[in-house]
Protein backbone atom coordinates (compact mmCIF):
# COMPACT_ATOMS: atom_id res chain seq x y z
CA UNK A 1 0.00 0.00 0.00
CA UNK A 2 1.00 3.60 -0.04
CA UNK A 3 4.11 4.68 1.74
CA UNK A 4 2.50 7.42 3.82
CA UNK A 5 0.25 4.88 5.47
CA UNK A 6 2.71 2.04 5.95
CA UNK A 7 5.09 4.43 7.65
CA UNK A 8 2.30 5.59 9.89
CA UNK A 9 1.28 2.04 10.73
CA UNK A 10 4.78 1.32 11.92
CA UNK A 11 4.35 3.63 14.89
CA UNK A 12 3.90 1.83 18.15
CA UNK A 13 4.43 -1.62 16.74
CA UNK A 14 7.81 -3.17 17.24
CA UNK A 15 8.30 -6.32 15.20
CA UNK A 16 9.70 -9.29 17.08
CA UNK A 17 13.31 -10.25 16.56
CA UNK A 18 12.48 -13.56 14.90
CA UNK A 19 10.53 -11.79 12.19
CA UNK A 20 13.23 -9.18 11.70
CA UNK A 21 15.91 -11.86 11.27
CA UNK A 22 13.81 -13.82 8.75
CA UNK A 23 13.03 -10.63 6.85
CA UNK A 24 16.72 -9.62 6.75
CA UNK A 25 17.68 -13.07 5.45
CA UNK A 26 14.99 -12.86 2.74
CA UNK A 27 16.27 -9.43 1.67
CA UNK A 28 19.87 -10.70 1.64
CA UNK A 29 18.89 -13.68 -0.53
CA UNK A 30 16.98 -11.39 -2.90
CA UNK A 31 19.97 -9.06 -3.25
CA UNK A 32 22.23 -12.04 -3.89
CA UNK A 33 19.79 -13.34 -6.51
CA UNK A 34 19.81 -9.93 -8.16
CA UNK A 35 23.62 -9.86 -8.34
CA UNK A 36 24.40 -13.50 -9.21
CA UNK A 37 21.15 -15.16 -10.41
CA UNK A 38 23.15 -18.11 -11.81
CA UNK A 39 23.90 -19.14 -8.24
CA UNK A 40 20.30 -20.20 -7.67
CA UNK A 41 19.35 -21.86 -10.93
CA UNK A 42 21.22 -23.42 -13.84
CA UNK A 43 18.24 -22.81 -16.16
CA UNK A 44 18.08 -19.98 -18.69
CA UNK A 45 15.05 -17.69 -18.14
CA UNK A 46 14.66 -17.12 -21.88
CA UNK A 47 15.24 -20.70 -23.08
CA UNK A 48 12.00 -21.97 -24.65
CA UNK A 49 11.23 -25.68 -24.90
CA UNK A 50 7.78 -26.24 -26.34
CA UNK A 51 7.85 -29.96 -25.44
CA UNK A 52 7.99 -28.95 -21.77
CA UNK A 53 5.23 -26.33 -21.89
CA UNK A 54 2.92 -25.80 -18.89
CA UNK A 55 4.51 -28.46 -16.67
CA UNK A 56 3.38 -28.31 -13.04
CA UNK A 57 5.98 -27.70 -10.30
CA UNK A 58 8.34 -30.64 -9.97
CA UNK A 59 11.87 -31.33 -8.77
CA UNK A 60 13.33 -30.31 -12.14
CA UNK A 61 11.16 -27.19 -12.37
CA UNK A 62 10.37 -26.03 -8.81
CA UNK A 63 7.88 -23.39 -10.02
CA UNK A 64 6.77 -25.32 -13.12
CA UNK A 65 7.12 -24.12 -16.71
CA UNK A 66 5.18 -21.55 -18.75
CA UNK A 67 3.37 -21.70 -22.09
CA UNK A 68 6.64 -21.79 -24.05
CA UNK A 69 8.31 -24.24 -21.71
CA UNK A 70 10.49 -21.66 -19.94
CA UNK A 71 11.42 -22.46 -16.36
CA UNK A 72 9.28 -20.20 -14.10
CA UNK A 73 11.73 -20.50 -11.20
CA UNK A 74 14.56 -19.23 -13.39
CA UNK A 75 12.35 -16.39 -14.64
CA UNK A 76 11.46 -15.37 -11.10
CA UNK A 77 15.12 -15.56 -9.99
CA UNK A 78 16.31 -13.50 -12.95
CA UNK A 79 13.37 -11.16 -12.47
CA UNK A 80 14.73 -10.21 -9.04
CA UNK A 81 17.35 -8.06 -10.72
CA UNK A 82 14.81 -6.04 -12.72
CA UNK A 83 12.43 -5.54 -9.83
CA UNK A 84 15.12 -4.69 -7.28
CA UNK A 85 16.92 -2.29 -9.59
CA UNK A 86 13.65 -0.53 -10.50
CA UNK A 87 12.61 -0.34 -6.84
CA UNK A 88 16.02 0.82 -5.64
CA UNK A 89 16.53 3.46 -8.34
CA UNK A 90 13.02 4.86 -7.99
CA UNK A 91 13.35 5.05 -4.20
CA UNK A 92 16.77 6.69 -4.42
CA UNK A 93 15.51 9.34 -6.87
CA UNK A 94 12.44 10.01 -4.72
CA UNK A 95 14.57 10.24 -1.57
CA UNK A 96 17.05 12.72 -3.06
CA UNK A 97 14.36 14.79 -4.80
CA UNK A 98 12.22 14.82 -1.66
CA UNK A 99 15.20 15.79 0.49
CA UNK A 100 16.17 18.68 -1.80
CA UNK A 101 12.62 19.99 -2.27
CA UNK A 102 11.70 19.56 1.39
CA UNK A 103 14.87 21.16 2.75
CA UNK A 104 14.64 24.09 0.33
CA UNK A 105 10.99 24.56 1.21
CA UNK A 106 11.86 24.46 4.90
CA UNK A 107 14.52 27.17 4.67
CA UNK A 108 12.85 29.25 1.95
CA UNK A 109 10.96 32.49 2.66
CA UNK A 110 7.42 31.96 3.80
CA UNK A 111 5.73 32.66 0.44
CA UNK A 112 7.86 30.15 -1.46
CA UNK A 113 7.41 27.60 1.30
CA UNK A 114 3.63 28.02 1.14
CA UNK A 115 3.50 27.54 -2.62
CA UNK A 116 5.69 24.40 -2.48
CA UNK A 117 3.65 22.99 0.41
CA UNK A 118 0.37 23.55 -1.43
CA UNK A 119 1.68 21.83 -4.56
CA UNK A 120 2.77 18.90 -2.38
CA UNK A 121 -0.70 18.85 -0.79
CA UNK A 122 -2.41 18.69 -4.17
CA UNK A 123 -0.05 15.93 -5.37
CA UNK A 124 -0.76 13.99 -2.19
CA UNK A 125 -4.47 14.20 -2.99
CA UNK A 126 -3.73 11.57 -5.64
CA UNK A 127 -3.28 7.94 -4.73
CA UNK A 128 0.38 7.11 -5.42
CA UNK A 129 -0.42 4.42 -7.94
CA UNK A 130 -2.80 6.66 -9.90
CA UNK A 131 -0.21 9.43 -9.89
CA UNK A 132 2.40 7.04 -11.30
CA UNK A 133 -0.08 5.98 -14.00
CA UNK A 134 -0.75 9.59 -14.94
CA UNK A 135 2.96 10.35 -15.16
CA UNK A 136 3.36 7.40 -17.52
CA UNK A 137 0.61 8.98 -19.63
CA UNK A 138 3.00 11.90 -20.05
CA UNK A 139 6.27 9.98 -20.43
CA UNK A 140 4.95 7.02 -22.41
CA UNK A 141 5.45 3.38 -21.37
CA UNK A 142 8.87 1.77 -20.83
CA UNK A 143 11.22 0.69 -18.10
CA UNK A 144 12.90 4.06 -17.55
CA UNK A 145 9.66 6.03 -17.49
CA UNK A 146 8.34 3.43 -15.04
CA UNK A 147 11.22 4.29 -12.70
CA UNK A 148 10.69 8.03 -13.11
CA UNK A 149 6.92 7.71 -12.63
CA UNK A 150 7.26 5.75 -9.38
CA UNK A 151 9.95 8.14 -8.19
CA UNK A 152 7.87 11.26 -8.84
CA UNK A 153 4.75 9.68 -7.37
CA UNK A 154 6.50 8.95 -4.06
CA UNK A 155 8.52 12.17 -3.86
CA UNK A 156 5.77 14.26 -2.13
CA UNK A 157 5.85 12.03 0.97
CA UNK A 158 9.62 12.37 1.36
CA UNK A 159 9.44 16.09 0.64
CA UNK A 160 6.81 16.62 3.31
CA UNK A 161 8.74 14.72 5.98
CA UNK A 162 12.03 16.43 5.20
CA UNK A 163 10.34 19.85 5.23
CA UNK A 164 8.92 19.21 8.69
CA UNK A 165 12.28 17.90 9.92
CA UNK A 166 14.03 20.94 8.49
CA UNK A 167 11.63 23.28 10.27
CA UNK A 168 12.31 21.48 13.55
CA UNK A 169 16.09 21.39 13.14
CA UNK A 170 16.20 25.03 12.04
CA UNK A 171 14.92 26.12 15.42
CA UNK A 172 17.32 23.92 17.36
CA UNK A 173 20.15 25.30 19.45
CA UNK A 174 23.03 24.06 17.32
CA UNK A 175 21.74 25.67 14.14
CA UNK A 176 21.31 28.97 15.95
CA UNK A 177 24.80 28.53 17.41
CA UNK A 178 26.19 27.94 13.93
CA UNK A 179 24.48 31.10 12.74
CA UNK A 180 25.94 33.14 15.59
CA UNK A 181 29.39 31.68 14.93
CA UNK A 182 29.11 33.00 11.38
CA UNK A 183 28.88 29.69 9.52
CA UNK A 184 27.61 30.40 5.99
CA UNK A 185 23.92 29.41 5.60
CA UNK A 186 24.56 26.89 2.82
CA UNK A 187 27.22 25.15 4.87
CA UNK A 188 24.87 25.06 7.86
CA UNK A 189 22.24 23.36 5.74
CA UNK A 190 24.63 20.79 4.34
CA UNK A 191 26.54 20.10 7.56
CA UNK A 192 23.82 20.42 10.17
CA UNK A 193 20.30 20.34 8.74
CA UNK A 194 20.56 17.60 6.10
CA UNK A 195 22.27 14.97 8.29
CA UNK A 196 19.43 15.36 10.77
CA UNK A 197 16.65 15.01 8.21
CA UNK A 198 18.35 12.13 6.41
CA UNK A 199 17.82 9.59 9.20
CA UNK A 200 14.01 9.48 9.14
CA UNK A 201 14.04 9.60 5.34
CA UNK A 202 16.33 6.58 5.10
CA UNK A 203 14.05 4.60 7.40
CA UNK A 204 11.05 5.61 5.29
CA UNK A 205 12.97 4.58 2.20
CA UNK A 206 13.38 1.03 3.55
CA UNK A 207 9.61 0.66 3.60
CA UNK A 208 9.29 2.73 0.41
CA UNK A 209 11.57 0.29 -1.39
CA UNK A 210 8.98 -2.47 -0.91
CA UNK A 211 6.12 -0.19 -1.97
CA UNK A 212 8.06 0.87 -5.07
CA UNK A 213 8.60 -2.77 -6.08
CA UNK A 214 4.88 -3.48 -5.69
CA UNK A 215 3.96 -0.41 -7.77
CA UNK A 216 6.50 -1.40 -10.42
CA UNK A 217 5.04 -4.90 -10.61
CA UNK A 218 1.54 -3.38 -10.93
CA UNK A 219 2.54 -1.01 -13.70
CA UNK A 220 4.36 -3.64 -15.70
CA UNK A 221 1.45 -6.02 -15.12
CA UNK A 222 -0.62 -3.41 -17.00
CA UNK A 223 1.92 -3.52 -19.81
CA UNK A 224 3.39 -0.08 -19.10
CA UNK A 225 6.89 -1.20 -18.14
CA UNK A 226 9.47 -3.57 -19.63
CA UNK A 227 8.44 -5.53 -22.72
CA UNK A 228 8.28 -9.33 -23.09
CA UNK A 229 10.18 -11.60 -22.88
CA UNK A 230 12.00 -9.68 -20.11
CA UNK A 231 11.79 -11.73 -16.92
CA UNK A 232 10.15 -9.13 -14.68
CA UNK A 233 7.77 -10.14 -11.89
CA UNK A 234 4.78 -8.05 -12.99
CA UNK A 235 5.22 -9.11 -16.60
CA UNK A 236 5.46 -12.83 -15.78
CA UNK A 237 2.27 -12.40 -13.74
CA UNK A 238 0.40 -10.81 -16.62
CA UNK A 239 1.49 -13.63 -18.94
CA UNK A 240 0.32 -16.13 -16.36
CA UNK A 241 -3.09 -14.49 -16.17
CA UNK A 242 -4.15 -16.14 -19.44
CA UNK A 243 -3.26 -19.60 -18.15
CA UNK A 244 -4.77 -19.30 -14.71
CA UNK A 245 -7.23 -22.14 -15.27
CA UNK A 246 -4.63 -24.61 -16.50
CA UNK A 247 -1.34 -23.46 -14.99
CA UNK A 248 -1.79 -21.43 -11.80
CA UNK A 249 1.92 -21.62 -10.98
CA UNK A 250 2.95 -19.09 -13.65
CA UNK A 251 1.03 -16.26 -11.98
CA UNK A 252 1.23 -17.34 -8.35
CA UNK A 253 5.00 -17.63 -7.80
CA UNK A 254 6.14 -14.23 -9.11
CA UNK A 255 3.39 -12.63 -7.01
CA UNK A 256 4.68 -14.53 -4.01
CA UNK A 257 8.11 -13.04 -4.70
CA UNK A 258 6.64 -9.51 -4.76
CA UNK A 259 4.75 -10.13 -1.52
CA UNK A 260 7.80 -11.62 0.21
CA UNK A 261 9.89 -8.61 -0.79
CA UNK A 262 7.31 -6.10 0.40
CA UNK A 263 6.80 -7.92 3.72
CA UNK A 264 10.55 -8.15 4.38
CA UNK A 265 11.16 -4.50 3.56
CA UNK A 266 8.23 -3.48 5.77
CA UNK A 267 9.35 -5.59 8.74
CA UNK A 268 12.94 -4.31 8.59
CA UNK A 269 11.70 -0.74 8.10
CA UNK A 270 9.35 -0.98 11.07
CA UNK A 271 12.13 -2.29 13.25
CA UNK A 272 14.34 0.67 12.27
CA UNK A 273 11.43 3.03 12.89
CA UNK A 274 10.81 1.56 16.34
CA UNK A 275 14.50 2.02 17.08
CA UNK A 276 14.34 5.69 16.09
CA UNK A 277 11.27 6.15 18.26
CA UNK A 278 13.22 4.54 21.11
CA UNK A 279 16.07 7.00 20.64
CA UNK A 280 13.69 9.90 20.66
CA UNK A 281 12.25 8.97 24.02
Amino acid sequence: MTLAITTRLARGRRPRWGGVIVASVVLAVLILAAIIPGLFTPADPLQTEIANALLPPSFAHPFGTDQSGRDVFARVVYGTQHSLVIGFTATLIALVAGLVIGTLSGIAPRGVDTVISRVIDVLMAFPEFLLALLIIAILGPGESSLIVAIAIASTPVYARVSRVQTLVVRRSGFVRAAKILGVPPLLTVVRHVVPNTLGPLLVMATIGFGTAIASAAGLSFLGLGPTPPTPEWGLILSEGRNFLGTAWWIAVFPGLAVTATVISATVVGRRLLARRAGWAQ
Binding site: D121, F126, P127
Partner: protein, 320 residues
Protein backbone atom coordinates in the same frame (compact mmCIF):
# COMPACT_ATOMS: atom_id res chain seq x y z
CA UNK B 1 -30.78 28.18 24.45
CA UNK B 2 -32.34 28.72 21.10
CA UNK B 3 -29.99 31.50 20.10
CA UNK B 4 -27.04 29.42 21.21
CA UNK B 5 -28.14 26.66 18.95
CA UNK B 6 -28.54 29.14 16.13
CA UNK B 7 -25.05 30.44 16.68
CA UNK B 8 -23.73 26.95 16.64
CA UNK B 9 -25.60 26.22 13.43
CA UNK B 10 -24.23 29.38 11.86
CA UNK B 11 -20.72 28.40 12.81
CA UNK B 12 -21.18 24.95 11.37
CA UNK B 13 -22.37 26.42 8.08
CA UNK B 14 -19.40 28.79 7.95
CA UNK B 15 -17.08 25.89 8.65
CA UNK B 16 -18.70 23.84 5.90
CA UNK B 17 -18.43 26.72 3.43
CA UNK B 18 -14.76 27.06 4.26
CA UNK B 19 -14.21 23.35 3.64
CA UNK B 20 -16.09 23.48 0.34
CA UNK B 21 -13.85 26.38 -0.68
CA UNK B 22 -10.94 24.05 0.04
CA UNK B 23 -12.46 21.42 -2.26
CA UNK B 24 -12.67 23.97 -5.08
CA UNK B 25 -9.03 24.95 -4.48
CA UNK B 26 -7.82 21.34 -4.67
CA UNK B 27 -9.75 20.76 -7.91
CA UNK B 28 -8.34 23.96 -9.37
CA UNK B 29 -4.83 22.98 -8.26
CA UNK B 30 -5.12 19.50 -9.75
CA UNK B 31 -6.56 20.84 -13.02
CA UNK B 32 -3.74 23.38 -13.25
CA UNK B 33 -0.93 20.96 -12.44
CA UNK B 34 -2.46 18.43 -14.84
CA UNK B 35 -2.83 21.00 -17.59
CA UNK B 36 0.78 22.16 -17.21
CA UNK B 37 2.07 18.57 -17.06
CA UNK B 38 0.21 17.54 -20.21
CA UNK B 39 1.68 20.52 -22.05
CA UNK B 40 5.11 18.99 -21.43
CA UNK B 41 4.29 15.93 -23.51
CA UNK B 42 6.83 15.74 -26.28
CA UNK B 43 5.42 15.86 -29.78
CA UNK B 44 2.47 17.53 -31.40
CA UNK B 45 -0.88 16.68 -29.78
CA UNK B 46 -2.38 16.31 -33.23
CA UNK B 47 0.18 13.66 -34.15
CA UNK B 48 -0.52 11.95 -30.85
CA UNK B 49 -4.23 12.12 -31.62
CA UNK B 50 -3.92 10.70 -35.11
CA UNK B 51 -1.40 8.00 -34.28
CA UNK B 52 2.11 7.58 -35.67
CA UNK B 53 1.37 5.85 -38.94
CA UNK B 54 -1.40 8.20 -40.06
CA UNK B 55 -1.07 9.76 -43.51
CA UNK B 56 -2.69 13.13 -43.04
CA UNK B 57 -1.73 16.28 -44.95
CA UNK B 58 -0.44 19.30 -43.07
CA UNK B 59 -3.50 21.32 -44.10
CA UNK B 60 -5.82 18.83 -42.46
CA UNK B 61 -3.64 18.87 -39.35
CA UNK B 62 -3.93 22.67 -39.29
CA UNK B 63 -7.68 22.37 -39.57
CA UNK B 64 -7.79 19.92 -36.68
CA UNK B 65 -5.55 22.22 -34.65
CA UNK B 66 -7.92 25.10 -35.39
CA UNK B 67 -10.87 22.94 -34.48
CA UNK B 68 -9.47 21.96 -31.08
CA UNK B 69 -8.24 25.45 -30.30
CA UNK B 70 -4.63 24.30 -30.21
CA UNK B 71 -3.42 27.33 -32.15
CA UNK B 72 -4.31 29.73 -29.41
CA UNK B 73 -1.75 30.84 -26.85
CA UNK B 74 -1.32 28.44 -23.95
CA UNK B 75 -2.74 30.94 -21.47
CA UNK B 76 -5.91 31.32 -23.54
CA UNK B 77 -6.23 27.54 -23.78
CA UNK B 78 -5.80 27.28 -20.01
CA UNK B 79 -8.40 29.95 -19.29
CA UNK B 80 -10.92 28.44 -21.67
CA UNK B 81 -10.25 25.04 -20.08
CA UNK B 82 -10.97 26.48 -16.64
CA UNK B 83 -14.05 28.26 -18.00
CA UNK B 84 -15.43 25.01 -19.35
CA UNK B 85 -14.48 23.19 -16.16
CA UNK B 86 -16.78 25.49 -14.18
CA UNK B 87 -19.70 24.33 -16.32
CA UNK B 88 -18.64 20.70 -15.79
CA UNK B 89 -17.43 20.43 -19.38
CA UNK B 90 -14.24 18.39 -19.48
CA UNK B 91 -13.67 18.64 -23.22
CA UNK B 92 -13.86 16.01 -25.93
CA UNK B 93 -11.98 12.72 -26.09
CA UNK B 94 -9.36 12.57 -28.87
CA UNK B 95 -9.96 8.91 -29.52
CA UNK B 96 -13.65 8.35 -28.87
CA UNK B 97 -14.81 11.73 -30.23
CA UNK B 98 -17.36 12.10 -27.48
CA UNK B 99 -17.50 14.38 -24.44
CA UNK B 100 -15.18 13.29 -21.64
CA UNK B 101 -18.05 13.62 -19.16
CA UNK B 102 -19.98 11.03 -21.20
CA UNK B 103 -16.99 8.67 -21.24
CA UNK B 104 -16.70 8.98 -17.47
CA UNK B 105 -20.45 8.78 -16.83
CA UNK B 106 -20.66 5.59 -18.88
CA UNK B 107 -17.91 3.84 -16.89
CA UNK B 108 -18.62 5.28 -13.47
CA UNK B 109 -21.54 3.05 -12.32
CA UNK B 110 -19.59 -0.18 -12.73
CA UNK B 111 -16.61 1.16 -10.76
CA UNK B 112 -18.88 2.69 -8.13
CA UNK B 113 -20.55 -0.68 -7.53
CA UNK B 114 -17.16 -2.33 -7.25
CA UNK B 115 -15.72 0.23 -4.84
CA UNK B 116 -18.89 0.45 -2.74
CA UNK B 117 -18.88 -3.31 -2.19
CA UNK B 118 -15.14 -3.22 -1.55
CA UNK B 119 -15.59 -0.54 1.12
CA UNK B 120 -18.35 -2.58 2.75
CA UNK B 121 -16.16 -5.71 2.75
CA UNK B 122 -13.16 -3.83 4.06
CA UNK B 123 -15.03 -2.22 6.95
CA UNK B 124 -16.78 -5.47 7.87
CA UNK B 125 -13.52 -7.43 7.85
CA UNK B 126 -11.68 -4.74 9.80
CA UNK B 127 -14.44 -4.50 12.39
CA UNK B 128 -14.57 -8.29 12.74
CA UNK B 129 -10.84 -8.63 13.28
CA UNK B 130 -10.74 -5.69 15.69
CA UNK B 131 -13.65 -6.97 17.76
CA UNK B 132 -12.85 -10.66 17.83
CA UNK B 133 -9.06 -10.81 17.78
CA UNK B 134 -8.68 -9.23 21.20
CA UNK B 135 -6.62 -11.85 22.98
CA UNK B 136 -2.84 -11.75 22.94
CA UNK B 137 -2.36 -14.82 20.79
CA UNK B 138 -5.23 -14.03 18.44
CA UNK B 139 -3.90 -10.49 18.13
CA UNK B 140 -0.50 -11.74 17.09
CA UNK B 141 -1.96 -14.12 14.51
CA UNK B 142 -4.14 -11.37 13.11
CA UNK B 143 -1.24 -8.94 12.88
CA UNK B 144 0.76 -11.40 10.78
CA UNK B 145 -2.30 -11.87 8.57
CA UNK B 146 -2.68 -8.11 8.26
CA UNK B 147 0.94 -7.73 7.19
CA UNK B 148 0.54 -10.40 4.50
CA UNK B 149 -2.70 -8.92 3.20
CA UNK B 150 -1.35 -5.36 3.15
CA UNK B 151 1.83 -6.43 1.38
CA UNK B 152 0.17 -8.51 -1.33
CA UNK B 153 -0.44 -6.49 -4.48
CA UNK B 154 -4.19 -6.29 -5.19
CA UNK B 155 -3.82 -7.67 -8.71
CA UNK B 156 -2.02 -10.73 -7.42
CA UNK B 157 -4.60 -11.29 -4.68
CA UNK B 158 -7.19 -11.08 -7.45
CA UNK B 159 -5.43 -13.71 -9.54
CA UNK B 160 -5.10 -16.04 -6.55
CA UNK B 161 -8.80 -15.57 -5.72
CA UNK B 162 -9.74 -16.45 -9.32
CA UNK B 163 -7.46 -19.49 -9.31
CA UNK B 164 -8.85 -20.79 -6.03
CA UNK B 165 -12.53 -19.81 -5.99
CA UNK B 166 -13.41 -19.59 -9.67
CA UNK B 167 -11.22 -22.21 -11.37
CA UNK B 168 -10.53 -24.44 -8.37
CA UNK B 169 -13.75 -24.57 -6.40
CA UNK B 170 -16.08 -23.18 -9.04
CA UNK B 171 -17.98 -21.03 -6.55
CA UNK B 172 -17.82 -17.93 -8.70
CA UNK B 173 -18.02 -17.32 -12.45
CA UNK B 174 -14.70 -17.06 -14.27
CA UNK B 175 -15.43 -14.80 -17.20
CA UNK B 176 -18.65 -13.03 -16.43
CA UNK B 177 -19.07 -9.41 -15.47
CA UNK B 178 -22.77 -8.63 -15.35
CA UNK B 179 -24.17 -10.65 -12.43
CA UNK B 180 -23.93 -9.60 -8.77
CA UNK B 181 -22.06 -12.85 -8.12
CA UNK B 182 -19.27 -11.75 -10.42
CA UNK B 183 -18.73 -8.66 -8.27
CA UNK B 184 -17.69 -10.57 -5.15
CA UNK B 185 -14.14 -11.62 -6.03
CA UNK B 186 -12.98 -8.31 -7.53
CA UNK B 187 -14.46 -6.40 -4.59
CA UNK B 188 -12.68 -8.75 -2.20
CA UNK B 189 -9.35 -8.29 -4.01
CA UNK B 190 -9.76 -4.53 -3.74
CA UNK B 191 -10.96 -4.72 -0.13
CA UNK B 192 -8.30 -6.96 1.45
CA UNK B 193 -5.38 -4.50 1.61
CA UNK B 194 -7.71 -1.76 2.85
CA UNK B 195 -9.18 -4.12 5.45
CA UNK B 196 -5.68 -4.99 6.66
CA UNK B 197 -4.72 -1.36 7.17
CA UNK B 198 -7.99 -0.26 8.79
CA UNK B 199 -7.98 -3.29 11.07
CA UNK B 200 -4.43 -2.54 12.20
CA UNK B 201 -5.25 1.10 12.96
CA UNK B 202 -8.47 0.13 14.71
CA UNK B 203 -6.76 -2.43 16.93
CA UNK B 204 -3.97 -0.03 17.80
CA UNK B 205 -6.58 2.58 18.70
CA UNK B 206 -8.57 0.17 20.86
CA UNK B 207 -5.43 -0.99 22.67
CA UNK B 208 -4.30 2.52 23.47
CA UNK B 209 -7.80 3.65 24.49
CA UNK B 210 -8.07 0.72 26.89
CA UNK B 211 -4.85 1.75 28.60
CA UNK B 212 -6.21 5.20 29.38
CA UNK B 213 -7.52 6.08 32.85
CA UNK B 214 -11.09 6.61 31.65
CA UNK B 215 -11.31 2.96 30.61
CA UNK B 216 -10.39 1.85 34.12
CA UNK B 217 -12.92 4.20 35.63
CA UNK B 218 -15.68 2.97 33.32
CA UNK B 219 -14.92 -0.60 34.35
CA UNK B 220 -14.73 0.42 38.03
CA UNK B 221 -18.18 1.90 37.70
CA UNK B 222 -19.35 -1.63 37.02
CA UNK B 223 -19.86 -1.36 33.28
CA UNK B 224 -19.32 -4.50 31.28
CA UNK B 225 -16.45 -5.00 28.83
CA UNK B 226 -18.80 -4.82 25.87
CA UNK B 227 -20.27 -1.57 27.12
CA UNK B 228 -16.79 -0.12 27.48
CA UNK B 229 -16.06 -1.16 23.91
CA UNK B 230 -19.35 -0.09 22.39
CA UNK B 231 -19.77 3.26 24.12
CA UNK B 232 -16.24 4.40 24.83
CA UNK B 233 -13.12 2.84 23.35
CA UNK B 234 -14.58 2.21 19.91
CA UNK B 235 -15.36 5.90 19.53
CA UNK B 236 -11.78 6.77 20.41
CA UNK B 237 -10.34 4.24 18.02
CA UNK B 238 -12.77 5.20 15.26
CA UNK B 239 -11.42 8.72 14.73
CA UNK B 240 -8.01 7.54 13.53
CA UNK B 241 -9.50 4.79 11.41
CA UNK B 242 -11.83 7.30 9.80
CA UNK B 243 -8.98 9.42 8.46
CA UNK B 244 -7.22 6.39 7.08
CA UNK B 245 -10.43 4.92 5.62
CA UNK B 246 -11.17 8.20 3.86
CA UNK B 247 -7.72 8.24 2.34
CA UNK B 248 -8.00 4.61 1.31
CA UNK B 249 -11.42 5.02 -0.28
CA UNK B 250 -9.93 7.84 -2.32
CA UNK B 251 -7.12 5.56 -3.42
CA UNK B 252 -9.45 2.77 -4.56
CA UNK B 253 -9.54 4.27 -8.07
CA UNK B 254 -5.85 3.43 -8.44
CA UNK B 255 -6.53 -0.13 -7.30
CA UNK B 256 -9.55 -0.34 -9.61
CA UNK B 257 -7.26 0.07 -12.63
CA UNK B 258 -5.46 -3.13 -11.65
CA UNK B 259 -8.41 -5.12 -10.37
CA UNK B 260 -10.62 -4.31 -13.36
CA UNK B 261 -7.82 -5.43 -15.65
CA UNK B 262 -7.34 -8.69 -13.74
CA UNK B 263 -11.05 -9.51 -13.83
CA UNK B 264 -11.61 -8.07 -17.33
CA UNK B 265 -14.41 -5.88 -15.96
CA UNK B 266 -15.45 -2.70 -17.71
CA UNK B 267 -15.13 0.45 -15.63
CA UNK B 268 -13.36 3.69 -14.92
CA UNK B 269 -10.08 1.97 -14.09
CA UNK B 270 -9.86 0.34 -17.49
CA UNK B 271 -11.02 3.54 -19.17
CA UNK B 272 -8.09 5.25 -17.41
CA UNK B 273 -5.66 2.63 -18.65
CA UNK B 274 -7.07 2.85 -22.19
CA UNK B 275 -6.74 6.64 -22.15
CA UNK B 276 -3.14 6.40 -20.95
CA UNK B 277 -2.14 3.85 -23.57
CA UNK B 278 -3.92 5.80 -26.34
CA UNK B 279 -2.60 9.09 -24.98
CA UNK B 280 -6.12 10.45 -24.91
CA UNK B 281 -5.13 13.60 -23.03
CA UNK B 282 -8.57 15.18 -22.45
CA UNK B 283 -9.74 11.94 -20.83
CA UNK B 284 -6.55 11.73 -18.75
CA UNK B 285 -7.05 15.32 -17.58
CA UNK B 286 -10.71 14.59 -16.83
CA UNK B 287 -9.74 11.64 -14.67
CA UNK B 288 -7.13 13.76 -12.87
CA UNK B 289 -9.85 16.29 -12.02
CA UNK B 290 -12.27 13.54 -10.99
CA UNK B 291 -9.71 11.83 -8.74
CA UNK B 292 -8.81 15.10 -7.04
CA UNK B 293 -12.49 16.02 -6.59
CA UNK B 294 -13.25 12.57 -5.13
CA UNK B 295 -10.37 12.84 -2.70
CA UNK B 296 -11.25 16.38 -1.62
CA UNK B 297 -14.93 15.57 -1.12
CA UNK B 298 -14.13 12.42 0.84
CA UNK B 299 -11.85 14.46 3.08
CA UNK B 300 -14.72 16.84 3.86
CA UNK B 301 -17.11 13.95 4.51
CA UNK B 302 -14.55 12.41 6.87
CA UNK B 303 -14.21 15.73 8.70
CA UNK B 304 -17.98 15.89 9.13
CA UNK B 305 -18.06 12.29 10.42
CA UNK B 306 -15.22 13.17 12.75
CA UNK B 307 -17.43 15.72 14.44
CA UNK B 308 -20.22 13.19 14.73
CA UNK B 309 -17.93 10.66 16.39
CA UNK B 310 -15.93 13.06 18.53
CA UNK B 311 -18.12 15.67 20.28
CA UNK B 312 -15.05 17.54 21.52
CA UNK B 313 -14.49 18.85 18.00
CA UNK B 314 -17.99 20.27 17.54
CA UNK B 315 -17.52 23.36 19.67
CA UNK B 316 -14.20 24.10 18.10
CA UNK B 317 -15.94 25.04 14.85
CA UNK B 318 -14.66 28.59 15.01
CA UNK B 319 -11.18 27.61 16.09
CA UNK B 320 -10.33 25.48 13.11
Amino acid sequence: MNSRNDRRGGRAILWLLGRLGGVVLVIWGAATIGFIALKFIPGDPVDVMLGVQSQVSDETKDLIREDWGLNEPVIAQYLSYLGRLVTADLGTSYQLRQPVTDVIALQLPSTLQLTALAVAFALALAAASALFARGRRAGRAVSVLELVVISSPAFWTGLVLIAVFAFGLGWFPVAETSTPRSLVLPALALALPVAGIVSQILRQGLDSAERQPFATSVLARGASRSRLLGRHTLRHAATDSLTISGYLVGSLLGGAVLVETVFARPGLGRATLRAIIDRDLPVVLGIIVLAAATFAIITVVVDILYRVVDPRLRDRADAS
